[in-house]
């Protein structure tokens, strides 16, 4: 099932404030794409446009699958989830008074995911063993890092074809960032999962990304393969402090 996410000339904002200006971006089957930008540049806004949480004022967001084109703008978040796109949201948004296991099972709510629960649960537990040993613990009582793992695990339970991750490294110790990033890479290799990841942590994101986009003040300032990004002026200026 070849699927591709195409964003074309999207403008979006909140009330009178325009945040995104003509953003175009593409994520192809099996790719991991990094959306890089510092605070307040519009990463979450773009991700939220894809999920149907923020409605763009102009532009197109299409999911192409097996030669079919589906417009995503105007669909509710739950419909977009049913199309196989899931989000690990900023701030994790777990159900704090449900257990780890209940959170994971809620992740498999969409029809397309229920069949594969045993397989996906096994993968989550293998990827993040702490989730298995804390199965019966309330999500709200987990540490920040554990919660981030649970948030990723819960999104994987939906058996997505495209996974959106909004800043997986935020609030995590470097060693945990490494682990989470390594697991996302493993997912991509094993299941040909397509990933769009918003990140500020340039070095971590470029470890696993095939390509990247740099967003500055709501516009794509640069895009290219990971190696090119490392060489680029803007990157040196904004991220590497050179």
């Amino acid at each position: 099932m070849a699927s591709r996410l195409v964003i074309r000339d999207v403008d979006a904002g909140y009330g009178a404030v325009r945040v995104l200006h003509g953003v175009s971006l593409e994520v192809r089957e099996g790719e991991t794409v990094a959306l890089l930008g510092t605070n307040g540049n519009g990463k979450s806004t773009l991700i939220n446009c894809i999920m149907g949480i923020v409605r763009p004022d102009a532009g197109e967001i299409t999911l192409e699958r097996d030669g079919q084109r589906m417009e995503l703008i105007g669909r509710a978040p739950e419909e977009i989830v049913h199309l196989g796109i899931t989000l690990v949201p900023e701030g994790r948004r777990l159900f704090p008074k449900l257990t780890v296991e209940e959170n994971l099972l809620l992740g498999a709510f969409r029809d397309g995911a229920r069949r594969d629960i045993p397989r996906n649960l096994a993968f989550c537990f293998e990827a993040f063993p702490v989730l298995q040993s804390r199965r019966k613990q309330l999500a709200g009582n987990m540490s920040g890092g554990e919660q981030q793992m649970l948030a990723i695990g819960r999104a994987l339970m939906a058996a997505p074809t495209i996974l959106l991750v909004d800043e997986p490294s935020v609030g995590l110790a470097p060693v945990l960032v490494n682990r989470v990033i390594a697991k996302i890479k493993e997912l991509k290799d094993r299941y040909r999962l397509t990933v769009l990841m918003a990140e500020q942590n340039f070095n971590q994101a470029t470890k696993i990304a095939d390509r990247g986009y740099i967003i500055v003040h709501g516009q794509i300032a640069f895009s290219g393969a990971t190696a090119e990004l490392r060489e680029h002026e803007l990157v040196k200026k904004y991220y590497l402090g050179v």
């Binding site: 978040p77 989830v81 777990l94 159900f95 704090p96 099972l105 809620l106 709510f109 309330l138």
Partner: protein, 290 residues
Amino acid sequence: MFSLDLFLNALAAGVLLGGFYAAVSLGIAVSFGLLDIANLAHPVFVMFGAYLVYTMNSRFGMDPILAGVLFTPLFFVLGALLYQLYYASFERKGAESLRGLVFFFGILFIVEVGLLLQFGVDYRLVEARYIGESLHLGPVGLPFRLLIPCVAGVSLTALLYLFLSRTFYGRAIQGVAQDAFALRLMGANPFKVKRLAFALASATASVAGALLIMIGPVEPAMNREYIGRAFAVTVLGGMGSIGGTLVAALMLGVAESLTATFYGPAWGVAVSFGVLLLALAVRPSGLFGR
């Protein structure tokens, strides 16, 4: 005067009463405990259920429990419609808390007056072959009119527990008040999830009504005393914990029965608030709060 027999009988009656209190409280445990909707009108739905059962029983001689079960689809639909109205009028506008309370008080009043006009203030009761009989275990007598409601109440509780903990919609109902936005990211529509929950909560009222009128004669204003009991049980049980609701209901039943036996029945309803205040002083999140 204290005697062991009297104590054991009061204890047994309390446990049986508690099983029935659980049935009445389930609707509040779901609507108030899980959805944050203070449905004051639930006990009056229970009364409405009791009168429908009364009608079927007095007209057609139908078994009360059977009648209660037969009316559940009606209550399910009424609950769904009521939630839809509540949602459109208050929740969508973010004005639910205080005005929502007034809304449900209004519903309570309308239904209560409707019952008064239709059935009057006289006490009504149902008849069934088994109602006057008792099961005897040594010195303890278990009257069927209490035993059956207890068994039915505990069964209803178990069914709801299984639904909430084992099904996808059940888990969604548990999660919806914690983070409705996150639930959308799981692919569920929070409005539909809440409507289903509210409809199920309302459907329990018809069975609880059958149990109520089996225990003793009813009159329309009786719903008032169950408001206090059901909210006390819900808070004490830990706001939406179904197992907690059952335990809290049993505790309340026993406390009430012992007080009524040894100090007089007038203390009945006061006991529920006494138990509630005492328990919350010790454990503010309720006995089984998460």
